[in-house]
């Protein structure tokens, strides 16, 4: 039922951003998020807004998808605005029952909310244009050098892949279990705290048991297909940096250096 929404909100499409290597996207997103929260208001911030909006434009994903992500977070924005407005000193807008709402506070709140919106748009661009599979692939490759230090990179990536595969299945199972409970007069919402906790037992126990059985059978199925860990494994999905990727990594790295430089010496 909700596997559309759940799988990292990937929206199939084919703009230039879809064709980029997930590793370069990961790097650029990481850098841009740092910049979003560290760049000072003024020209820098305007350039950032322009840059992020431009990137979103490149993605060619319908605006309404971004809007629904932003809309979902409105309580956070409201809270940020009010909290900053009430706690920071400055020229008062009005005073009520000893609590002051200051202009400076509100402006700080607005700016902070703006940064949050930018962060949301940025991460949305990333998840909309990167399929979960290529993300886990990208992560696996990034982890590869770390495996020399004993980090189980391949195993972590495989776990993510299997989780992605089974999350919708297990959610549907949970849904069926809830219906089965309702069919016997069970009700998840009733009773006091303890009763409610007990109400979950007919749901959790079968889910756990079935999850263990799945793990067991899946492990056998994997062995049958000659899985023996990450050694000697190839990947059919080939990934190599194209010109676009070098450009993206280059520009974002440059921006990072510039901002770090300004912070240190500015």
């Amino acid at each position: 039922m909700f596997d559309n929404l759940l799988i990292g909100s990937y929206i199939p499409g084919n703009s230039v951003l879809y064709k980029l290597d997930p590793r370069s996207k990961l790097w650029a997103s990481g850098v841009l998020i740092i910049l979003t929260f560290s760049v000072r208001p003024g020209l820098g911030l305007w350039l950032l807004i322009l840059g992020i909006t431009g990137t979103a434009g490149l993605a060619r994903v319908r605006v309404r998808y971004y809007l629904s992500s932003i809309k979902a977070l409105w309580p956070i924005f409201a809270f940020t605005l009010v909290a900053n407005g009430l706690s920071l000193p400055g020229q008062p807008i009005f005073i009520l029952a000893g609590v002051t709402l200051s202009w400076d506070g509100v402006i700080t709140g607005v700016l902070l909310s703006l940064r949050l919106v930018l962060a949301v748009v940025l991460t949305s661009v990333f998840t909309f244009t990167t399929s979960p599979i290529s993300l886990t692939d990208g992560l696996e490759r990034l982890f590869k050098p770390l495996t020399k230090f004993g980090f189980p990179g391949h195993e972590v990536a495989l776990m993510m892949t299997i989780a992605l595969r089974f999350i919708p299945t297990i959610m549907e199972e949970g849904d069926r279990l809830v219906k089965a409970m309702q069919a016997r007069g069970g009700d998840l919402g009733r009773g006091g705290v303890i009763k409610r906790a007990k109400n979950f037992i007919p749901l959790l126990i079968p889910l756990f048991i079935s999850a263990f059985r799945r793990a067991d059978e899946l492990a056998m199925a994997m062995e049958v297909r000659c899985y023996r860990g990450g050694q000697g494994r190839t990947r059919f999905r080939e990934m190599s940096f194209q010109t676009g990727d070098f450009v993206v990594v280059g520009i974002s790295s440059l921006l990072l250096l510039v901002v770090l430089g300004l912070h240190t010496f500015g």
């Binding site: 596997d3 595969r165 799945r214 899946l218 994997m222 049958v224 297909r225 000659c226 023996r228 999905r237």
Partner: protein, 269 residues
């Protein structure tokens, strides 16, 4: 050829053998059905065929390789694919394509070749349009076909299906049987462990396993003609065979070896 010679198997904590002195052969391109009542050791047999379990005595050899030889284990697993009952718990990846790639990736096959094998495998099982689909949205029959594609991409010589159709609806079962028949045409020897007699009737050879022993072995006509043995062990022949048998007992002269309705109609007209 897969050869079982006097294979006996007991679970570690039990005394009674689950399989007792079983002799059996599977040739490339052959379809062998294994039937038997519950507890007859059919699933254990499936796991012995590809080395997941090792015989306590006797030997299992696959194209001359002994399953107890430690160096041949992975080669044997590659040659003898296994499809299990639960369609869901065999698919590892979030898309069909990725899942079919899993086996060849484990074997270290180079990417271009993997891509070719994926295409060939999905074509064989009729799931090419679903390459980018999530397994979650597929029907049971489709999932089993993807599982078969995943094994086929490893270029096995044999395929063991352990009650692979028992959780499927009739359409899924038909699709699966068609796939199995395509496989045998490609030279893959298939062992079908099943309790659907009309599936067993399509095989080249039927093995009846009762309490770990081979009770009967032969062509479907021979095995299903032996109604007294079948009845004694709570097994049934396909409907047409049963009716033919009842008619013979009622005094009607009918040729032996009738397995399906068409043959029965012909014999009666």
């Amino acid at each position: 050829m897969i050869k079982l010679e006097k294979v006996t198997y007991c679970y570690p904590d039990r005394e009674e053998p689950v399989l007792d002195q079983v002799d059996m052969e599977v040739k490339p391109g052959e379809m062998v059905a294994v039937i038997g009542p519950n507890g007859s050791g059919k699933s254990t047999l499936a796991k012995l065929l590809n080395g997941l379990l090792l015989p306590v005595s006797g030997s299992v050899t696959v194209d001359g390789l002994d399953t107890t030889g430690t160096d041949a284990v992975w080669e044997i697993r590659r040659r003898v694919g296994l499809i299990l009952q639960n369609p869901d718990n065999q698919l590892v990846a979030p898309t069909v394509e990725e899942d079919v790639a899993f086996g060849p990736e484990n074997l270290g096959v180079e990417p271009g070749e993997i891509r070719r094998r994926i295409k060939a495998a999905l074509d064989l099982v009729g799931m090419s349009e679903y390459a980018n689909h999530s397994p979650n949205r597929l029907s049971g029959g489709q999932k089993q076909r993807v599982a078969i594609a995943g094994v086929f991409a490893m270029q096995p010589s044999y395929l063991v299906l352990d009650e692979a159709t028992s959780m499927l609806d009739p359409r899924g079962r038909t699709e699966l049987m068609q796939t199995v028949q395509s496989l045998t045409v490609h030279g893959v020897g298939c062992v079908m462990i099943t309790h659907h007699m009309n599936e067993a009737a399509l095989a080249d050879k039927v093995v009846v396993l009762v309490r770990g022993r081979v009770e009967l072995m032969g062509s479907p006509q021979q095995v299903f003609g032996n109604s007294s043995v079948l009845r004694r062990h709570g097994l049934q022949a396909p409907t047409a065979a049963r009716i033919a048998d009842s008619l013979r007992r009622g005094g009607m002269p009918l040729p032996q070896g009738i397995l399906c309705v068409e043959e029965l109609v012909k014999a009666l007209c």
